[in-house]
Amino acid sequence: MDSVIQIDHLYKTIGGKTILLDVTLEVPRGSLFGLLGPNGAGKSTCLKLITGRMRTSSGNIRVLGFDPWKDRVKMFNEVGYLPQNPSAPVDAKVLNFMKYMARLKGMSKKDAVINSREALAKVGLEKFEGATVGKLSGGEIQRLAFANSLLGDPEVLILDEPTASLDPEGRVYVMDLIQKLSRDKSQTVIVSSHILPEIQRMTNHIAILSEGQVLVAGNMRDLTANIFDNEYEIETSHPQELYDILKGEGYDIELENQTIIIDVGKRIRQIWNDIPKICAENNYELRSFKPVRDALENVFLRYVSNNQRGVGYD
């Protein structure tokens, strides 16, 4: 599979502190790539290196074949970038700012206006066209910067924490938009975030970074395929009765707030047979039966907590 971004044994040291340690990654074309990691893992630094804001200490980066530090200008013809915590000139009018940015992207005056309007409409800011940037809220400025990164339909979109400082509604909106972009225009989108459910919802490829190292990278489906959670939660109409029956069968089980938490251990196949059967026999209504943590959360916790303890996962 051809890849749009190749990172090869990348190291970055800032002020004597090593931020990135031997990072090797490939971002496949057309993928929705999630860069996941706890705060301070080096996600932003990694994206700054990819966008040529910083120089690598050692190692190699290629974005669409260009070296981001040396060929930044050529690279940004095809790349859109949303920095973390973006801001725009406070005195400028929203449309004027977008027009300026579109002109810098190489558009004619007429195209600049059309493209700016389109991009603003995509992020739902079309009614703020004439407003001053200073009057926008934090979330609206985030969306404005997002619209800015969409100008000129770039082949690769690099988004550093795109949902930060957005309200829940804005988050959903932006996440849907990112998915749509990847689906309709087959753009490659790289998203960084520390919020698991968002990454799970948005992306199909992930890399987990922790303390400057890539713990695991790959297709989301492959990564989560063989991960099973031992803890399940069950909601039924008769929790106390079910609890007693399952306790009798010898399961490791707890009852919290009318919800049964069961540690299935190695009896995973058996429990999937048992629970519906018991409920059907006793006429209990089975309302939900699901793992306590979802698959990505499990992957994340396994790798990150193992890494932080300094023990490799086998």
Binding site: R53, P89, V90, Y100, R103, L104, K105, A145
Partner: protein, 285 residues
């Protein structure tokens, strides 16, 4: 025929360099003239010189006519160049207007957005310089022209005096703009060096102060001469050339005008290229 040529033409790629300079310049111009400190500068560079004309009046003028009108017009213009445009306060205002063009963008975190567009760092620097020069033209021109023509009108100059001396006025203004260009280029260098506009202001003022003091003292033959805190000596040395076509009376060492202009231009270009190099190798956090 045309259909056959078209694809060939479309394949020729004109060098894209320089396309962004006017865009950056225009943006700087239109955003600067909306700022509060621009109004302060406009008060100083435009309003006060014009008001001074009205207050000064012509109490002692007995004769009127073209000669005396030209003399007054040119002397006053030269004086205003010294007092307002190249003096210490004039320099400070220029530095304050220019300093946050790059450092301020880094400080306000808007710089990464501009740099995430296909724009060369040199285009940013030269665009900012051109924009500031546009602002300076706006600040300098009206007051200078009003002053000059006010005297011509008030002292009854002949109508052909207006056009025939125009080249001298334009020459003087170009000279003034080049001097201001040096200050702007120097400030842009500091602006790309620091991440805070305050440091850029302090740095460039320090250099300007030192340079003008040293150069003023060295180039004045008399070692006991007063200390210059401005580039007045340059105006003293060259503007009489331009205006009266005569050599100055003061005992000043003068290189030839053309070589001096070339030196100024190369200093400006040198400063801007250094600013570009600094910006090119800067990691914007």
């Amino acid at each position: 025929m045309i259909d056959r040529i078209k694809p060939i033409i479309s394949r020729i790629k004109l060098p894209n360099y320089g396309r962004n300079i006017p865009i950056v310049a225009k943006e700087l111009y239109s955003s600067t003239i909306r700022e509060k400190k621009f109004y302060l500068a406009a008060l100083y560079f435009m309003a006060i010189p014009v008001l001074m004309n009205l207050i000064a009046g012509f109490g002692n003028v007995v004769f009127r006519g073209t000669g005396i009108a030209l003399f007054y017009a040119q002397t006053t213009t030269l004086l205003y160049f010294k007092i307002f445009y190249i003096s210490l306060i004039g320099q400070i205002l220029l530095v304050v207007l220019t300093a946050d063009q790059i450092a301020g963008e880094i400080e306000m975190k808007t710089f990464p957005l501009i740099r995430s567009k296909p724009i060369y760092d040199s285009e940013i620097v030269f665009g900012k310089f051109s924009g500031m020069m546009m602002v300076m033209v706006l600040l300098d021109l009206p007051a200078v022209f009003i002053t000059y023509f006010y005297y011509l009108i008030a002292l009854d100059a002949e109508s052909n005096a207006y056009l025939s001396t125009m080249d001298e006025v334009v020459g003087a203004i170009v000279f003034l703009l080049l001097l201001q260009g040096v200050i702007i280029a120097l400030t842009l260098l500091f602006s790309s060096m620091f991440n805070k506009s305050l440091y850029a202001i302090l740095g460039s003022l320090l250099i300007l102060f030192t340079m003008s003091t040293i150069s003023g003292n060295v180039l004045t033959a008399d070692p006991t001469a007063k200390v210059y805190y401005s580039f007045e000596w340059i105006l003293d040395a060259f503007l009489p050339y331009i205006f009266y076509h005569i050599e100055p009376l003061e005992d000043v060492i003068i290189p030839s005008l053309l070589s001096f202009l070339l030196t100024i231009v190369s200093i400006i270009v040198g400063l801007l290229v250094s600013a570009t190099l600094i910006l090119r190798n800067k990691e914007v956090q």
